[in-house]
């Protein structure tokens, strides 16, 4: 097996992930290449979840008993860990949600209900891009339909990057909010943040960054990004499902109205009106996903322990190797950037006329797990005139050997349907 520069000690790392030892279909070792959909969870995270339920379970922010205090400390401790992980200036800027979709919907609804100067209405415009996940398209479509605002977007170049040639025409004085993905879940493209942020700031528009495919894979610094909101989800970064994050600038979180009302988010309530708790609690109505937040805290500890720069270097090496090997497969066409520069570790491709569902099924028979379909980014498939793609996506435990298994598997698929 080749030694690529920058690789992590995957032999040691893989011991932390019990599921990677699993076999499927009568004894084939699972080759898990569906990390952009969800990552696997290390023992450290599973232990944190168990320990929370076995030793500390209680509801948070209420009750004066020991368990309630421990649960609250663990939940709020997870907020501290996440805040440090993304270099947030304040822990109060970290709002826990259910997932990235909820985070993005939360921003869209805040802006729909906001007063000036944030209000999105019929005289204003919302800007997104053609490579967004549906979770960063549909909330803005809903907001546009409800407010009469106009929805605009950046198109894509033939090689899978954002077409910013019309930057000044798309983002205008009317633009209230620009929301875009940092790393595409289908193309793998790492987008140029600076150019978009600079133009948005020129016209006074808020910037929302969907970092769902970035937070798990590279150092994420919300201050360096200069965005106003950053959304991501726990389950793609070694954490449990059911926990997401919305980071927002403190001033904005203070000014903007709540979306969901309920317990935990209030200051005082009478039958006529209520006042709200300060952020982040203002945006966390009801009992939050406590165990999941604790699990995310453990995941963040785990990733930080290995080092996000090291994880990024590992994935860069694996991605470069995979792009090279995949392009050796006859009839295989990469949908997205074909080199590892400015690119994440999700690689979409088509294989001749063989439908991705057939590719995925026959790979599965060999124990190789990939994702097939439109990856919740159907406009990208429409843009490139394809019904769907097969996507292989890597993480810190992925190995060159798994890339080789994929390439061998694809050769088998070609012969099977040839």
């Amino acid at each position: 097996m080749n030694q690529l520069p920058g690789l992590l000690d995957t032999e040691a790392i893989r011991k932390d992930f019990p599921i990677l030892d699993r076999t499927v279909h009568d004894g084939q070792k699972v080759v898990y290449l569906d990390n952009a959909a969800t990552s696997q969870k290390p023992r450290q995270v599973l232990d944190a979840l168990n320990a929370y339920y076995e030793r500390h379970n209680a509801n948070v922010h209420r009750g004066v008993h020991v368990l309630a205090e421990e649960a609250t400390a663990l939940y709020e401790g997870a907020r501290d860990k996440v805040a440090a992980f993304v270099n947030a200036p304040s822990r109060d800027e970290v709002v826990f949600t259910k997932n990235a979709s909820e985070s993005l919907n939360l921003v869209a609804n805040m802006l729909g209900f906001a007063d000036e100067p944030y209000r999105v209405d019929r005289d204003t415009e919302i800007v997104i891009t053609e490579m967004e996940h549906h979770s960063n398209i549909v909330p803005w479509q809903l907001l546009a339909q409800r407010t009469g605002a106009k929805l605009k977007w950046f198109g894509l170049t033939d090689d899978g990057r954002l077409d910013l040639s019309d930057l000044d025409e798309v983002i205008t004085e009317k633009t209230k909010v620009v929301s875009f993905v940092l790393v595409s879940n289908i193309l793998g493209t790492h987008n140029p943040v600076e150019a978009i942020v600079r133009r948005a700031q020129e016209v006074g528009a808020l910037v929302v960054v969907d970092a769902s495919q970035a937070a798990p894979h590279m150092p994420l610094d919300v201050q360096a990004l200069q965005a106003d909101f950053v959304a991501f989800t726990g389950h793609k970064m070694a954490g449990p499902t059911g926990i997401g994050v919305l980071w927002g600038r403190k001033g904005l979180l203070d000014d903007l109205p709540p979306f969901l009302g309920g317990g935990e988010m209030i200051e005082t309530v009478s039958m006529h009106s209520s006042t709200y708790a300060p952020a982040p609690h203002k945006f966390e109505a009801g009992t939050p996903p406590i165990a999941q937040a604790v699990g995310l805290g453990a995941a963040v500890d785990y990733l930080a322990g290995i080092g996000m720069a090291q994880i990024e270097a590992h994935e860069h090496a694996i991605t470069g190797y995979a792009l090279g090997r995949l392009q050796e497969v006859p009839d295989l066409k990469i949908i997205g950037p074909t080199t590892a520069e400015e690119r994440g570790a999700a690689i979409s491709f088509t294989l001749g006329d063989i439908h991705p569902h057939d590719v995925g099924q026959v790979l599965d028979e060999q124990g190789i797990a990939v994702r097939v379909g439109h990856h919740c980014a159907r406009p990208v498939c429409l843009r490139y005139g394809i019904p769907a793609t097969t996507r292989a996506s890597f993480y810190l435990y992925s190995t060159p050997g798994e890339v080789d298994a994929l390439v061998d598997g694809l050769e088998y698929v070609r012969n099977f349907f040839g």
């Binding site: 991705p356 569902h357 099924q361 026959v362 439109h374 019904p387 349907f417």
Partner: protein, 148 residues
């Protein structure tokens, strides 16, 4: 799941291409983007032709080919019985696996019995049913037209 019969129909589809019909429908399978445009031509109570054009996985395309082979030329009640039996097979979650049960089904379903294995894969059942649901829909429309 990929029986030779299925692969044969996928590689050499029967009756593919759109021809004259009494009703046309377009069905899609949103989970994987399979699409089919299907026309039904009736002659009284006989299925005179089922023509189709589509794109999608081998299961969805082979299933349309098998449908064409099975239903064209059949009397409508018989065609509907076959459709219902195929639906039952696809919803069986792989539970119909005894040889004698499959043999009984093969009496009615012929080549379509090869799809029994697909019924074990919930994600793929819709692929197999796409053309059959389109046929049912188009036939209902054609009958409505005829009655009007």
């Amino acid at each position: 799941m990929y029986q030779d019969v299925i692969l044969d129909h996928y590689k050499h589809p029967h009756g593919r291409g759109l021809r004259a019909g009494d009703a046309e429908v377009h069905h899609v399978n949103p989970t994987c983007g399979d699409e089919i445009t299907l026309r039904v031509k009736l002659a009284g109570q006989t299925v005179e032709d089922v023509s189709y054009e589509g794109q999608g996985c081998s299961i969805s395309q082979a299933s349309a080919s098998v449908l064409n082979e099975l239903l064209v030329g059949k009397e409508l009640p018989e065609a509907q019985r076959i459709q219902e039996q195929f639906l039952e097979l696809m919803q069986s979650r792989g539970r119909i696996e005894r040889d004698e049960d499959l043999a009984a089904m093969e009496e009615v379903l012929e080549d379509a019995v090869a799809f029994a294995g697909v019924s074990k894969y919930p994600a793929r059942v819709k692929c197999a049913l796409l053309s059959w649901m389109a046929w049912k829909d188009a036939t209902a429309q054609a009958l409505k037209e005829a009655a009007a």
